[in-house]
Amino acid sequence: MHDNQLEDRLRTALRAEGDGLSMTITAAELQRRLAGRQRQTRGRWMTAIAAAIAFVALGAVAAMSNGWLRLPAVGVSPSPSATASPAPTSSPAPSPSGVPATPEPTPRVAEPVGSAGEAVLVKPIGSDARRPDSFEVTRFDPATGRSVVIATVPGSVLPEDGWLETFDRPPQVSPTGWLAMGFTRGPNEDETTPAIAIIDLQAPDIAPWILDGYTSMSWDLTDKLVVEREDRVWVAWPTSRFLQTFAPVGTTARIASNGAGISSGPAVTVEDSTRFLAMRTTDDAWGYVGFDGAFTPTNDLPAVYQRMGRERPAGADAHGLGYTCDGGGAPAGGVCSLVETDAKQKPVATWLDLDKTGAYDFAWAVDGKSVWVLLEGGISGGSQVATLAYASDVDSRTERARIDFAEGMRPQILGFADEPTPGSATVVAIGDDEGFIHAFVLDGGDVIEQDGTAWFAGWAVDPAPYDPD
């Protein structure tokens, strides 16, 4: 909804703030810093030359001793169910001369990475948050406190020109242990592109598959990664390093995000990545698109595959849930609420009066009719409190657990391990808006605190598909 008044007020406020700043940078300071950069540049150039010489020498030794990288299989045909024309857009680097060119398929164990209720955590190790020395991947059982290291991934999975930004999505693990990690790369910080590294946790020392220019990832149930690039959806097969694009959907529909919050990607149905939830652009009607790009409207949405347990873009009968504020007569913009809408976007219920109780986050429960909320609990003793609550209907809400965060953080519901019955989640992952895990809440309300230094990358075993109908 367009709001000229709010936009005008925002412009006025930002201009008053920005234009009111005094200018303290001087030309002398600029010149001083320029001189310093020029000295550094000369030093780095000499280091780069030395490194290049060393690399050439090491490469020659490795080639002679047959210890080169194992290259994955290429050119394997995609699943027969896919109907779009194959358009391979990625291939591994060519082998250096003298090394056998036939790549060896990577044998993999096609089993889940752990047991039901276990979470997969990825912890960056090292002093440089942008380029960690390594990543420690563990599976953690909140019920027992047991933690097992699955793999230690070297920091070199990020190419030399790559680094992690705060806005790069947290990594996501596939059902059998592929790890997708978003990062940023470029010759310098002014010319950057997003990218995704796909790492085999069963063989973490093998060079990852890098997808340049791709964002917005979500795994499907058969270890394929669904990604976006230039407003198109692509399906990536890690074992064969094959990429396939959707037929263009044109302006008819836009593919829905899977509602997994900060880990969101295209909402994949359980039918092996051949369909995605979508909304028609003309009237926001819900439906799905197939691989041929055709849009089928329906309020009986197909089941959505879950890895994080937050892939719940719509409730029963394609109902929606979101914040809204009415115009009201108050100077500040009226009353704001958490509102449920029907398939035609008309409000049908108010779940939360945000004037009375603020909410950090919310999610549909498994039935698509009741709601989980992460309520603002105020600030106490240097901590801010988030309260996980379950609302079976608009008039009934039960608090399940309180979680403490450092002030200034933005708590989020990161995922549900499983929810056999509405409101009874076996484990709920609670973290922040960068995907770091801060606590697990067990069904009985016990809070298992975490230190917020590891990303929640998904569950070891898939949550059940989300099918509120």
Binding site: D3, L6, E7, R9, L10, R11, T12, A13, L14, R15, A16, E17, G18, D19, G20, L21, S22, M23, T24, I25, A27, E29, L30, Q31, R33, L34, A129, R130, E165, T166, F167, E189, D190, T192, T193, P194, E230, R254, Y323, C325, A330, P331, A332, G333, G334, V335, C336, L354, D355, G358, G382, A406, E407, G408, M409, R410, D433, E434, F436, G452
Partner: protein, 178 residues
Amino acid sequence: MTLEALRRRRPETLDALLATYGRELQAVAYLILRDRPAAEDVVIETLLTAFERAGQIRDERALRAWLLRIATNKALSVRRVESRVVRLEVVPDRAAPRDLAGDSTDRLALLDGVGSLPLQMRAAVVLRYYADLSVEDVAATLGKSPNTIKAQLQTALDRLRIHLAEPLTVSPVEIRHA
């Protein structure tokens, strides 16, 4: 200052860049980072980068957009996850003394709301509503599609509406997450 002079790296062009674009770049960086020293650092690094890489610019009309892009990317790259210590920071001095108590409550609430947005969303808001870039230019600056930026801006406005409905609790001492 001409683009040609910039390309030739004439020393005076650095001063000219500062005089012509410094204020706007500082404002953009500050509005994104809400941190005066960090914003100044971003501006300096932006101007130096521009001075060193001016050869990439072919059209003087693109210079402002290019500078904003550099500054925004540098601001976004300032990492704040290493330290999770909360510190209290006094709102920086402004050009003219101002009675904060007399400032519009609405303005302070809006700025507080903008400061609570996720970093990249905040950057989109600043580029759109302070620097007055079109949605397409904001998208080009942030390396996103225009549809993504439209969605981000709409989400930002939705969040600001909610934020405005809350009573302003931030006083001149600004609670920050480092």
